[in-house]
């Protein structure tokens, strides 16, 4: 991944000058890409690195959104404090839920995360007096400089890049490699004396916290939130992005978010049948591009490189 350093730098510079190049509509799209990308990368901490499919990841996203939304609307707390509170709130939720979920794997893990996610959805949906129920929460206005589209874009860019860096360091730390070991063979990892469940739980909480951060950023951007943010359709979004972009690379979900969100902005411009289009895209990717777009390009580049040098590269441990 290190060899893409210059490429990432280029993208970052491009992201910095983007408001000079495009209009407000595409800045909104860019903010959406960043927020949903952060959400998807946090999901991939569980999916790509831990090897479990969480189908209730929107729960933490939604809890993050509601913590920030309610603190801002009801108590007027400044945004940075709200973001931290969202991470803590989502982290606590992820801890309680994860405590049970890490006992299961495979299909049972997926269904249990989904069941908990639906529980949170119905609690937010039905608890009118506290959360506003299905009316949602309106008037979440970002303060001062952040009110403009460009201002909020730069703020989101800053937070997202920071969060990505933290997650990148986590994934490259000994902890990150322990997660890969658990994914590849949980039994052997247990044999070398690692408390697999505890590690999985820590990872689950970290993933939940960053999903909460992404959710927190969504409220002031959209200026309102609704319980649908925690529903299971919303949990599908990071799964789609990750599978399109490629789960076997740190930036795969981010790339997936770019493709997904652009496609969404483009397709909804001329047809209401967005689900049909994205459904066909998903089926195409699952059947013909199993490693996602990133996986596809990486295997292509590997192919080119090995043909050029004629020397087989040592097996690389991509995440």
């Amino acid at each position: 991944m290190k060899r893409y350093g210059w490429f990432l730098g280029l993208i970052f510079v491009f992201a910095l000058v983007l408001p000079l190049l495009v209009g407000e509509f595409w800045i909104h799209v860019a903010v959406e890409i960043l927020i949903l990308g952060l959400f998807a990368v946090s999901f991939n901490m569980i999916f790509g690195y831990m090897g479990q499919l969480s189908f209730g990841h929107a729960a933490y996203y939604g809890v993050g959104a509601y913590v920030t939304g309610m603190l801002m609307v009801k108590a007027g707390v400044p945004l940075p404090i709200c973001l931290a509170a969202s991470m803590i709130g989502a982290g606590i939720c992820a801890f309680i839920i994860g405590y049970f979920c890490v006992r299961l794997t495979g299909i049972y893990f997926a269904i249990l995360t989904m069941a908990f996610g639906q529980m949170i959805y119905y609690i937010i949906f039905k608890w009118y007096s506290f959360t506003g129920g299905d009316d949602g929460l309106q008037g979440i206005i970002a303060p001062g400089l952040l009110f403009s589209a460009n201002g909020y874009y730069y703020f989101t860019l800053f937070i997202t890049v920071l969060a990505l860096m933290v997650m990148w360091f986590i994934s490259e730390s000994p902890f990150g490699y322990t997660m890969r070991a658990i994914r590849d063979n949980a039994d052997r990892t247990r044999f070398v004396g690692i408390n697999v469940r505890r590690y999985m739980l820590i990872n689950f909480v970290i993933a939940g916290m960053f999903a909460g951060l992404a959710g927190a950023l969504w409220g002031p951007f959209n200026r309102s939130i609704a319980p649908d943010l925690t529903n299971w359709h919303q949990s599908g979004t990071p799964v789609f992005m990750t599978v399109i972009g490629g789960p076997f690379g740190f930036f795969g979900p981010m790339l997936g978010s770019v493709i997904y969100t652009f496609l969404f902005a483009f397709v909804t411009g001329f047809t209401e049948y967005w689900p049909l289009i994205i459904g066909l895209v998903i089926i195409f990717v699952v059947l013909f591009v199993p490693g996602g777009v990133l996986g596809f390009f990486e295997s292509r580049m590997e192919g080119l490189r090995s043909r050029r040098s004629r020397s087989p590269k040592p097996e690389e441990s991509t995440p």
Binding site: F100, K126, P290
Partner: protein, 294 residues
């Protein structure tokens, strides 16, 4: 709380449970045999309801319209199920669990939109024939006669499936496949054909269930989304691949809903997920399942 209210609530819970059983039995069978969790099951169920409405509309002036439309809708859905199995599902037999889940999830989106394109966004209503329009009385308590019909269909399908699984050669093969696919395959039985058969049967039941559901209320886009999650809960509670478990799970979920609506309406759906989560934590293979594939 008087007894008559409890009784009528129990019966409505039972009919709700039977409706879930009709959906979940196919879901459970498909997962038990093929190890594929079919997200699109309820979408096909909903398509069955729309087909039933179309057939009913064609024969509206005859008294038997609904009774012919229900099996007809099931047959059409069986054909569609066969097509889906051969074109899509067959390609992912050996893929990882997330890939299979995503494929069927994508089908949810596609089928949902295809229904929207074919039938539009307006709600559809089937007028019930006179036989099941009025209430029937149990011990002097009025009860919707159509719900009795739903319960009877559920019981009939349960008995039919049980007889099929216990008494026929094909049923024995299916049960053996739930237990060990490798062994069945080693005995020279073509596994893909078994898979296709099970999938088509599951979708046939789902399509018929949709048709049976159609006259209960109006047929609405998006109904499938709520139902599929509840069907998952049923299958989890009962245990994947177990017919008896699915039946018991359906009744549990139906009754939880019916009674919590009475005492704690906000919590009805939360409670279903709480029970599901508890079962998953304590006994992941469900009440009647066998602890096997993780």
């Amino acid at each position: 709380m008087d007894l008559s209210l409890l009784m009528s609530q129990f019966l409505s819970g039972l009919s709700r449970g039977m409706m879930l059983f009709l959906i979940a039995s196919g879901l459970s069978l498909i997962f038990g045999v093929m190890n594929i969790l079919n997200f699109a099951h309820a979408s096909l169920w909903l398509a069955g309801a729309y087909f039933c409405h179309s057939f009913w509309l064609l024969m509206e002036e005859y008294g038997f319209a609904l009774w012919v439309s229900i099996p007809l809708a099931g047959l059409v859905m069986a054909g569609i199920g066969w097509f889906i199995e051969v074109v899509l599902i067959r390609r992912v037999y050996n893929r990882s669990l997330p890939e299979q889940l995503l494929l069927t999830y994508a089908m949810v989106l596609i089928i949902g939109d295809l229904i929207k394109i074919s039938w539009g966004v307006e709600d559809r209503i089937i007028v019930r024939p006179p036989e099941v329009a009025g209430p029937v009385f149990f011990f002097g308590i009025p009860f919707d006669s159509y719900f009795i019909f739903v319960i009877l269909v559920g019981v009939a399908v349960a008995i039919g499936l049980w007889l099929f699984l216990q008494k026929t050669r094909y049923g024995h093969i299916v049960r053996a496949a739930v237990f060990s696919r490798e062994m069945v395959s080693a005995l020279g039985i073509p596994i893909p054909r078994i898979y296709t058969g099970v999938f088509v049967m599951g979708i046939f039941i789902a399509g018929m269930a949709g048709a049976v559901q159609a006259p209960v209320g109006s047929i609405t886009l998006g109904m499938d989304m709520a139902v599929i999650i509840q069907a998952f809960c049923v299958v989890v509670i009962g245990g994947f691949g177990s017919l008896l478990g699915t039946l018991v799970g359906s009744i549990i979920v139906g009754e939880i809903y019916a009674f919590s609506i009475l005492y704690w309406p906000q919590g009805a759906l939360v409670l279903i997920f709480v029970v599901t989560a508890i079962i998953l934590i304590v006994r992941p293979w469900g009440l009647f399942g066998t602890p096997m594939r993780a």
